[in-house]
C-alpha cells in the first residue's frame, strides 16, 4: 500500500498514523527460535559474549510464565510466533539527514524530528523498526567527551564501559519481557557522560515502528559519571495496524556519585501496540534519577520505572501522567528501592480514564529495617471522565525500622457537570471545557516537561478529549 501522501493532507487524530513502504535488506522472518537469534547476531556482527547473553535471555523467556496472575489477561493475546523480531535496511546509522534513505527520511521529516533537532536538542537518534537510521550529536557536545550512539555501536566500540553496566541494573531474568528483550534487542541508545560534564540541552531518541506484525526491542543504557548531568527524552509513534504490534524495551540508567539523570518519555503508540517496558536506574551516593513518564497511546502499557538508591543521600523520583482512552489500559506506576541511609524518593502519578479506558497505578516502595532516615512521598490522583471509565490503585509500601518518613495520598475525582456548565456558560464548547479541566488536572506535572513537550502534550490531550464527548 504505497500511499502518495501530500504534506497538507488532513492528518488524523494520531499524528503518527501514516506509513510509507520501505524495502528491508534484513528480515529475520516470523517467529522466534534460536535460529532467529543467530540471524540477528550474524547480521549485527555481535561478539560472542553478546550471543551468549542473548541465548541465556531466550532460555529465561521460555521458562518464565506470563504474569497474568496479577497483570491484565490481555497479555494472552500476544502471539509470539506471529511477530517479526528483526527488520532493517542496514546497521550503520547516518550522521547526516542527507544520507538517510529517502523512504525513511520522509517519515521522520513528517514527524518533525530534524526540525526539533535544529531548534532545541543536543543530539538525536532516530530508530526505524530495528535499527537507528540516524544518530548524531552537536559538535560541541561531542567535544566534551559525551558518547551518544546506538546500542550496537556502543557495545562494539566502547566495550570497557558498556560491558561493566549492561544487564546489571535489570538482569535479563527480571521478568518475561526483559528476558525477551535480552534475547532479541536491537537499537536504543548508549550514552556516556564524562565526570563533571553537564549537557545543557536534551538528547533525544525517537522510536518509530513502521512494519506490521513487528516487535521493537530497543535497549538503552545511560551512564552519567561522577558529578555529570544529562536529560534524555524519547518519543514514539506507529501507524495503526489491524494486528497487534509489540514494543518491549529495556532501559538501564546508572548515575554515579553526585550525577543527575532526567529521563523523559512521551509515549504515543497507536492503539494496537502492546507496550511492555522495563526501566530502572541505579543511583549512587548523592546522585539523582528522575523519570518523567507520560503515556497517552498503546493498547496495553505496563511500565513501572524504578530507582534503586544504592548510595547515601541518593534521590529517586517518578512523575507520571497516563491517559487511558476508549479500549486502552495504562498500567503504570513506580518502583522505589531504598538501599542506603538518608535516601529520598518521590512518586507523583496522575491518571485520566475516559470512555472504557482503564488506568492502573502500581507502586512499590521498599525501605528495609537496617536503614536510617529514609523518606518517601507518594501521591496518586485519578480522574474519571465517563461513568464506564475505570481506575485501580495498588500501592505496596514496605517500611521496616524506625526514623523513616513515609507519606501516601491517593484521590479519585470526576469532572462534575456543574463545572462543565460553568465553563460552557463562558462560551466554551463541551469538548473545550473538558479539555481545559483535564489539562488543569495535570497542569502541575506538565510544567515539569520541557516547553516543546508540554505544548505537544496539551495538544494531544485536546485531541483525545475532542473524541470523548458526544
Amino acid at each position: 500500500m504505497n500511499t502518495e501522501t501530500k504534506p497538507d493532507i488532513n492528518i488524523d487524530r494520531s499524528v503518527g498514523d501514516f506509513r510509507y513502504d520501505v524495502d528491508y535488506a534484513f528480515d529475520a522472518g516470523v517467529g522466534l527460535t534460536e535460529k532467529t537469534i543467530d540471524y540477528i547476531c550474524d547480521v549485527k556482527g555481535d561478539p560472542d559474549w553478546v550471543r551468549k547473553f542473548r541465548k541465556e535471555g531466550y532460555k529465561k523467556f521460555l521458562e518464565k510464565p506470563m504474569p497474568t496472575h496479577w497483570a491484565s489477561k490481555d497479555l494472552e493475546n500476544i502471539v509470539f510466533e506471529n511477530i517479526r523480531y528483526y527488520l532493517s535496511q542496514g546497521q550503520v546509522p547516518k550522521r547526516s539527514w542527507d544520507d538517510v534513505p529517502e523512504d525513511v527520511k520522509r517519515t521522520f521529516e513528517r514527524l518533525g524530528i530534524p526540525e526539533q533537532e535544529r531548534k532545541f536538542l543536543a543530539g538525536v537518534e532516530a530508530q526505524f523498526d530495528s535499527e537507528a537510521a540516524y544518530s548524531n550529536i552537536k559538535e560541541a557536545v561531542g567535544k566534551q567527551g559525551v558518547i551518544f550512539v546506538g546500542s550496537t555501536e556502543g557495545l562494539q566500540k566502547h566495550p570497557e564501559i558498556f560491558k561493566k553496566w549492561f544487564g546489571k541494573v535489570i538482569p535479563s531474568g527480571d521478568n518475561k519481557f526483559s528476558a525477551l528483550n535480552s534475547a532479541v534487542f536491537s537499537g536504543g541508545s548508549f550514552i556516556y557522560i564524562p565526570p563533571g560534564v553537564k549537557v545543557s540541552h536534551p538528547l533525544q531518541a525517537y522510536f518509530r515502528i513502521n512494519a506490521q506484525n513487528f516487535g521493537q526491542f530497543e535497549r538503552t543504557l545511560i551512564i552519567a559519571d561522577e558529578g555529570s548531568e544529562v536529560t534524555y527524552m524519547e518519543g514514539c509513534t506507529a501507524p495503526k495496524f489491524e494486528t497487534a504490534t509489540l514494543h518491549s524495551a529495556v532501559v538501564e540508567l546508572v548515575a554515579l556519585k553526585g550525577a543527575k539523570i532526567q529521563y523523559i518519555t512521551v509515549q504515543n503508540w497507536s492503539s494496537n501496540v502492546f507496550n511492555l517496558v522495563t526501566k530502572r536506574g541505579l543511583a549512587h551516593e548523592d546522585a539523582e534519577i528522575k523519570w518523567i513518564d507520560c503515556n497517552i497511546g498503546s493498547r496495553l502499557t505496563m511500565k513501572y520505572p524504578g530507582v534503586v538508591m544504592k548510595g547515601r543521600r541518593a534521590r529517586g523520583e517518578v512523575i507520571s501522567i497516563a491517559l487511558a482512552g476508549d479500549g486502552q489500559h495504562q498500567d503504570t506506576g513506580a518502583k522505589m528501592v531504598h538501599a542506603a541511609d538518608e535516601t529520598t524518593s518521590n512518586i507523583i502519578s496522575k491518571s485520566i480514564s475516559l470512555g472504557t479506558g482503564r488506568s492502573t497505578y502500581r507502586g512499590m516502595v521498599h525501605i528495609p529495617k537496617h536503614l536510617k532516615k529514609c523518606k518517601n512521598n507518594t501521591e496518586c490522583d485519578a480522574l474519571l471522565i465517563n461513568a464506564n471509565s475505570r481506575t485501580d490503585t495498588y500501592p505496596a509500601i514496605t517500611v521496616r525500622g524506625q526514623g523513616h518518613s513515609v507519606q501516601h495520598e491517593a484521590s479519585v475525582s470526576q469532572i462534575n457537570a456543574e463545572q462543565i456548565f460553568y465553563m460552557q456558560q463562558r462560551g466554551l464548547s463541551e469538548a473545550a471545557a473538558m479539555s481545559l479541566a483535564v489539562n488543569g488536572f495535570v497542569n502541575d506535572l506538565v510544567q515539569q516537561f520541557p516547553m516543546e513537550y508540554s505544548v505537544e502534550l496539551k495538544r494531544l490531550i485536546d485531541l483525545e478529549m475532542e473524541g470523548s464527548v458526544g
Binding site: F421, S429, F441, N443
Partner: protein, 248 residues
C-alpha cells in the same frame, strides 16, 4: 427588537414545576431587578435561561433579540451574548484565571483567528485594576480557595472581559461585606450602557442602593407578581414580601 424576552415560561426540575408562566422583557440599555423570597424560582430562572441541563422547559420561550435560544447548547447562548454571573461560581483546579478568560475570549473569535496576547493582557490588567483585583490573581486557579468576595469580583471581571449583550447577575451580593459590595457594584455600574441589558437577581434591597435599577419585579411561585420602578424595592424592604402576597 433589542430585547431579552421571556414569554410564558414554564420549567421544571424532575416532575416538579418551578417556573409557572413567567413573562419579562429586558431591553438593552436597561437594568431590571428581580426580588423574591427563597424558593420563589429566581435562581431557576437564571439557570433555565443559560441552559442548565437539570431543568426542562415545558412551554414558553426565551428570545434574545428575537431569536429563540431554548434548545441551544449553553455555550452557543453564551456566544450570542448571554452572560450569567453565578451565585456559586465553580472551582476549576489547575486552570488559571488568565487562561480561562483567554479561552472564553478566544471562543468568540471567528475560526482561524488567534487572540493577540499582548492586547489581551493589557485589557485584562486594566479591568482588574478597575475591580481592585491584584495582578497575582491571574496565575491562581479559577475560584480555587477564593473568598466569597474574590469569587464575585472574578465573575464581574469575566463579564467585563466578555462584554455580553445581556447579563444575569444571580445573587451577586450574597456573601459580600459592605466594602466588597461597593467594589462589585461599581464594577457592574461601569458596564452599564446602551449596549447591555441587565437582570439583577437579589434577595435584599441593599444591593439596589448601589446598582440602581430601572425596573423592579417581584417574583413569587414561579411568576412575576408585581412590577414597578426602583421605589418598589424600598417598599418591599419596609413592608416585607408578605405585603405583595396579601395585596394579590
Amino acid at each position: 427588537m433589542n430585547t431579552l424576552s421571556i414569554r410564558n415560561l414554564h420549567a421544571s426540575i424532575g416532575d416538579k414545576p418551578i417556573l409557572r408562566g413567567l413573562n419579562l422583557d429586558i431591553p438593552q440599555g436597561e437594568v431590571h431587578a428581580i426580588m423574591g423570597k427563597n424558593g420563589s424560582g429566581k435562581s431557576t430562572l437564571a439557570k433555565v435561561m443559560a441552559g442548565h441541563p437539570d431543568y426542562t422547559v415545558t412551554s414558553g420561550d426565551v428570545l434574545l433579540n428575537g431569536q429563540s435560544i431554548l434548545g441551544m447548547e449553553p455555550d452557543v447562548r453564551a456566544r450570542l451574548g448571554l452572560f450569567l454571573a453565578f451565585q456559586y461560581p465553580m472551582e476549576i483546579p489547575g486552570v488559571t484565571i488568565a487562561n480561562f478568560i483567554r479561552a472564553a475570549v478566544q471562543a468568540r473569535l471567528p475560526e482561524g483567528e488567534e487572540l493577540e496576547a499582548t492586547e489581551y493582557y493589557a485589557k485584562l490588567y486594566a479591568k482588574m485594576d478597575e475591580l481592585s483585583i491584584p495582578r497575582a490573581f491571574t496565575s491562581r486557579s479559577v475560584n480555587e480557595g477564593f473568598s466569597g468576595g474574590e469569587k464575585k469580583r472574578c465573575e464581574v471581571l469575566q463579564m467585563a472581559m466578555l462584554q455580553p449583550r445581556y447579563a444575569v447577575l444571580d445573587e451577586t451580593d450574597s456573601g459580600l461585606d459592605i466594602d466588597a459590595l461597593k467594589v462589585v457594584s461599581s464594577g457592574v455600574n461601569a458596564l452599564r450602557g446602551p449596549e447591555v441589558g441587565m437582570l439583577v437577581i437579589t434577595h435584599y434591597q441593599r444591593l439596589l442602593d448601589y446598582i440602581v435599577p430601572d425596573k423592579v419585579h417581584v417574583m413569587a411561585e414561579g411568576e412575576i407578581v408585581l412590577s414597578g420602578d426602583k421605589d418598589l424595592a424600598l417598599k418591599l424592604e419596609a413592608e416585607g414580601y408578605d405585603w405583595v402576597t396579601a395585596k394579590n
